[in-house]
């Protein structure tokens, strides 16, 4: 579960250090997730635009707040920001863009109330499209600040695509959710996203320069060495350095993205989550967890038109029931993780 460097669980400090790491790409990925009382970060991504990431993020945030959690929803999709609209917040006068442009250093000052008790938002607005993506250093700082927010849950709504910043916000979360719609384009992009996130995670986990380079080469699917799958890569790495090979295997085991299938219409669609999980196991070697599905529901469209999260707009709507169920599962996971932490390491799996 922990996205720390393999084999050094708990080795990374969660407190900010005064010495800033060099702007190495690894910086963001090495920030370890919270294991103490700090906020639980849940990132919602999926690669493709229009699959319902923002809808799912807004509703999970609202559902968790309605369960009595203190929640902050954060929109890091600087180029397609509309999480605030889904939560019924009018165009905000402060946003993440202020943090990115270094007009504001304290993330907590960008919090805005929402109409829902216990739920605040850090919105993103397209204030400055030219400099929309934060620098690497700024990203690391943002990730650290997210963790220090005074909340039980921080729900991060990711943008589309596989930009490094998107991957890092995904990897740094305690739970990374991948939203998929039962259609070819969405499933293809979900695999692209999972593959990119997994290779980035691997690259960050590997220590040796040679091995890291090997991972970088493998990220290009038409690499000259003929490394096609992570399993091919594992063989190459094991041959090169057995210790790194073991680290690789650990990374595979710890990488547990959560699948959410959105807009299911048939029982066949429900099974897609299992299918994607199975293909990841058999092809990539890591095991996603099927967190749940949300059915296609006209009430969802109406709630978006009303600029309200569905779980608020209609508690009993079909899709609303599914979303609340997923929120309850997230709560259950947090409890499971803290139970495991309390009883010591090494009991995971079986």
């Amino acid at each position: 579960m922990a996205y720390t460097r393999s084999g050094t669980k708990g080795g990374c400090p969660t407190e900010p250090t005064t010495t800033q790491r060099p702007a190495d790409a690894a910086g963001a990925g090495r920030v370890s997730p919270a294991r103490d009382g700090s906020a639980q970060i849940v990132s919602v991504g999926g690669g493709k635009g229009g699959v319902g990431k923002t809808f799912v993020a807004a509703n999970l945030a609202a559902a968790l707040a309605r369960q009595g959690m203190r929640v902050v929803a954060v929109d890091v999709d600087l180029e397609g920001a509309n999480l605030h609209t889904c939560l019924g917040v009018p165009l905000p006068n402060k946003s993440l863009a202020d943090f990115v442009a270094q007009r504001e250093d304290d993330l907590a000052k960008l919090l805005i109330d929402t109409p829902i008790d216990g739920l605040e938002i850090i919105a993103a607005t397209q204030a400055n499209l030219a400099g929309a993506q934060p620098s690497q250093l700024r990203r690391v700082r943002l990730i650290r600040s997210l963790r220090r927010l005074d909340a039980d849950y921080v729900i991060v709504d990711l943008g589309a695509g596989t930009h490094l910043s998107v991957l890092d916000y995904f990897l740094v979360a305690n739970e990374g959710l991948v939203v998929v719609r039962p259609e070819p384009t969405s499933v293809e992009n979900a695999y692209t996203f999972l593959r990119a996130a997994f290779y980035r995670r691997l690259r960050l986990a590997m220590v040796g320069h040679g091995v890291r380079q090997l991972v970088t080469q493998a990220m290009d699917q038409r690499n000259e060495r003929g490394i096609r799958t992570p399993l091919d890569l594992l063989h190459e790495i094991e041959a090169l350095d057995p210790v790194e090979g073991a680290r690789f295997t650990d990374t595979m085991r710890e990488f547990r993205p959560k699948i959410v299938v959105n807009e299911v219409r048939t029982a066949e669609d429900v099974k897609l989550g299992f299918g994607v999980g199975s293909v990841c196991k058999k092809y990539f070697g890591f095991e996603p967890e099927y967190l749940g599905y949300v059915n296609h529901d006209e009430a969802a469209r109406r709630s978006v038109a009303e600029k309200r999260p569905l779980v608020e707009f209609s508690e009993s709507a079909d899709a609303s029931v599914y979303l609340q169920r997923i929120a309850r599962k997230l709560l259950g996971m947090r409890d499971r993780v803290s139970r495991e932490a309390a009883s010591g390491p090494g009991i995971d799996g079986g």
Partner: protein
């Protein structure tokens, strides 16, 4: 982690070595469906040859693991001691297994089952959720019960005006619940209460508009 061709039957079916027969029966169609030709989950990752090979492996695993003798021989060969002698497997041990080793499908079921068992208010949406979770399509229920699928959809959507007289609707709901293996009594009670309420509201509405 090994490539598919080197994986054990358990890995191929994605069940723990301690899986009971019913868990294997549950896992097989789920895993198999992901590798049907053109399946949404696998077409963009595996070529048709690879998919055929995976299906072969899945079928072989299923054959062995659902045959007690073959499974025992296989376990012995692999040195697996799963504490499941054939005798114990045949006895009915009741509910789903617990513990971290349980198969993936069981994980999704955990919370959903709570929902099903909630007392009282069954309506069309809840019935649909129960059906979806069990992986059963409307067309399959229509085929088994010989009920017009439009009526089944009307039940799920709570489109009471589209349903026939109470006595027929009651029969449809009973058959639907039975087909997806839910006790029809509670379902019928909940659903018919909604049905009657909607009908009486409609009658009231008609009376009111008639006076005008």
């Amino acid at each position: 982690m090994k490539p598919v061709e080197e994986q054990s039957h358990y890995d191929v079916l994605e069940v723990p070595a301690t899986a009971r027969r019913d868990e294997i029966e549950h896992a097989y169609p789920l895993v198999r469906a992901a590798y049907e030709p053109g399946a949404l989950a696998s077409y963009s990752v595996f070529g048709s040859d690879e998919v055929a090979q995976i299906c072969e492996r899945i079928d072989a695993a299923y054959q062995v693991l659902t045959n007690d003798e073959a499974r025992q021989r296989y376990d012995a060969l692999l040195g697996i001691d799963n504490g499941l002698p054939a005798v114990e497997q045949e006895s009915d041990t009741g509910g789903p297994s617990e513990g971290p080793g349980a198969a993936a499908p069981a994980a999704l079921d955990d919370l959903d089952e709570v929902e099903d068992e909630e007392p009282g208010d069954w309506d069309g949406s809840k019935l649909r959720r129960a059906r979806m979770r069990r992986g059963i399509e409307i067309s399959a229920i229509a085929e088994i019960t010989k009920i017009n699928p439009n009526y089944l959809r009307a039940i799920e959507e709570g489109a009471y005006v589209e349903l026939p007289a109470a006595v027929y609707t009651r029969g449809f709901v009973t058959a639907y619940a039975r087909t997806i293996d839910i006790d029809p009594e509670a379902v019928v009670r909940g659903f018919m209460a909604h049905f009657e309420e909607a009908r009486s509201e409609r009658r009231r509405g008609r009376l009111l508009s008639g006076r005008r």
